[in-house]
Amino acid sequence: MTKKEWPLWEIFIRGQHGLNHRHVGSLHAPDAEMAIRNARDVYTRRKEGVSIWVVPSAAITASAPSEKGPLFDPAESKVYRHPTFFDIPDEVGHM
């Protein structure tokens, strides 16, 4: 029995040309090359992608759930960042 567990990789797939790679899940593999091969079998059996990225899960730093408030709440009061905040008269035309 293998004592050493294979590292975990996070898998990102580009669904179509022109779109971002999107996180689809994770898998185990001994190295990056095998992670790509496994990702092809596990996550693209139905033509879900045109490109694969693999990243060691250990390399990902995540924001802490407890920081959700301080990180994201300040954006709530800054509604002027959205274009619809400003009333532009119809006479001006499309802007």
């Binding site: 029995m1 293998t2 294979w6 190295d31 079998d41 059996r45 995540a62 759930p65």
Partner: protein, 332 residues
């Protein structure tokens, strides 16, 4: 169902809960998704590991009864389809192991628990697949029963589990329809072929009903799991839904559901049907089903005989990494 009789933790009332537990329950009630790094009650985490782990094991062990027929599929096309289905099952197992791993258990630990018998897989996979018609019955009934359970689980409270379910449900419909297509072909074939289809239905009907787990009155773990939204419907609700959907499909095939008591109950708007033999279910769960030893034996053998290959890949990865490190040093 793919997870049966998952032991849950004791249920607390809102008053008995700690402030953290209460806040957690309120989030679940609101329909929030719980994500891996967020606080969760220890019982929630443990129950989910058991449930998702058992579900993953069922997908993996579920490959075996169908694998039995890959080399003997009647046509090349049927063989390719069955291969694709069995490959999907492996994929489903992997999605679910990944979901379980976010709860702080490793895949190898889960594998080890499957192989030692410490964790279970669905009772259904301890029945043999004797004829090609069984490939039809398994897809139609077993995957059909799985879908009943998995569709509501897409809304489960645990984010990674919910996302795995969404992925699985997208693929599962192919499984059920390919099974029903086999049944249609057999039922419209020669009298012998139709007889094989009937025989497969006869053998898989009650074991499929058992997949939903014991009757609600005997199901002791439901309340807490339902409060946590890791179980969305009771066993009896899902079983009834399955019978109501499946009986007309059997009628279309011209096959007879092996239940003399089966009748449409106009007042209830549901079929009345006979319960499976629960003593048989508990025996199968205990390890005394027709194929328990064979299935677990095949799993262990595959794991042990694959060790050299896993080790080889690890050794290659280590050597390649060392070579890269050496060439980087040389270049500096």
């Amino acid at each position: 169902m793919y997870a049966q009789m998952v032991k849950s933790e004791g249920m607390k009332s809102l008053e008995e809960m700690s402030p953290e537990e209460r806040a957690f329950q309120e989030r679940v009630d609101r329909g929030d998704k719980i994500e891996p790094k967020e606080w969760m009650p220890e019982g929630y985490r443990k129950t989910l590991i058991r449930q998702i782990g058992q579900h993953a094991h069922s997908e993996i062990v579920g490959q075996l009864p169908e694998g039995n027929w890959i080399t003997r599929a009647p046509t090349l096309e049927r063989k390719a389809i069955l291969l694709a289905k069995v490959q999907d099952e492996a994929g489903h197992g992997l999605y679910l192991y990944s979901a379980a791993e976010t709860l702080g258990v490793s895949r190898d630990e889960l594998m080890e628990k499957l192989h030692s018998g410490a964790m279970k897989y669905s009772s259904i996979f301890n029945y043999p697949t004797l004829t090609w018609a069984d490939m039809g019955a398994v897809g139609w009934l077993v995957d059909g029963a799985a879908i009943m359970n998995q569709v509501p689980l897409q809304r489960t409270s645990y984010g990674p589990y919910s996302r795995a379910m969404i992925r699985i449900c997208k693929e599962e419909s192919f499984h059920q329809r390919q099974g029903y297509a086999i049944m249609m072909k057999m039922a419209q074939g020669t009298p012998e072929q139709k007889e094989m289809a009937q025989d497969a239905l006869n053998r898989f009907w009650y074991p499929s009903l058992m997949m939903f787990g014991p009757s609600d009155k005997d199901s002791v773990h439901s309340a807490q799991s339902m409060a946590w939204k890791i179980k969305m419907n009771t066993n009896d609700e899902l079983r009834q839904k399955f019978v109501d959907e499946t009986v007309p499909q059997a009628e279309y095939l011209g096959l007879t559901v092996p239940d003399e008591t089966l009748t449409w109950n106009e007042a209830r708007g549901h079929y009345d049907f006979a319960e499976p033999d629960w003593s048989e279910f508990f025996e199968v769960i205990k390890g005394n089903g027709p194929c328990n030893e064979e299935r677990l034996g095949a799993r262990r053998e595959a794991w042990d005989k694959g060790a050299w290959f896993r080790d080889g890949l690890t050794a290659y990865a280590e050597k390649a990494a060392a070579r890269r490190a050496a060439s980087n040093v040389a270049a500096e």
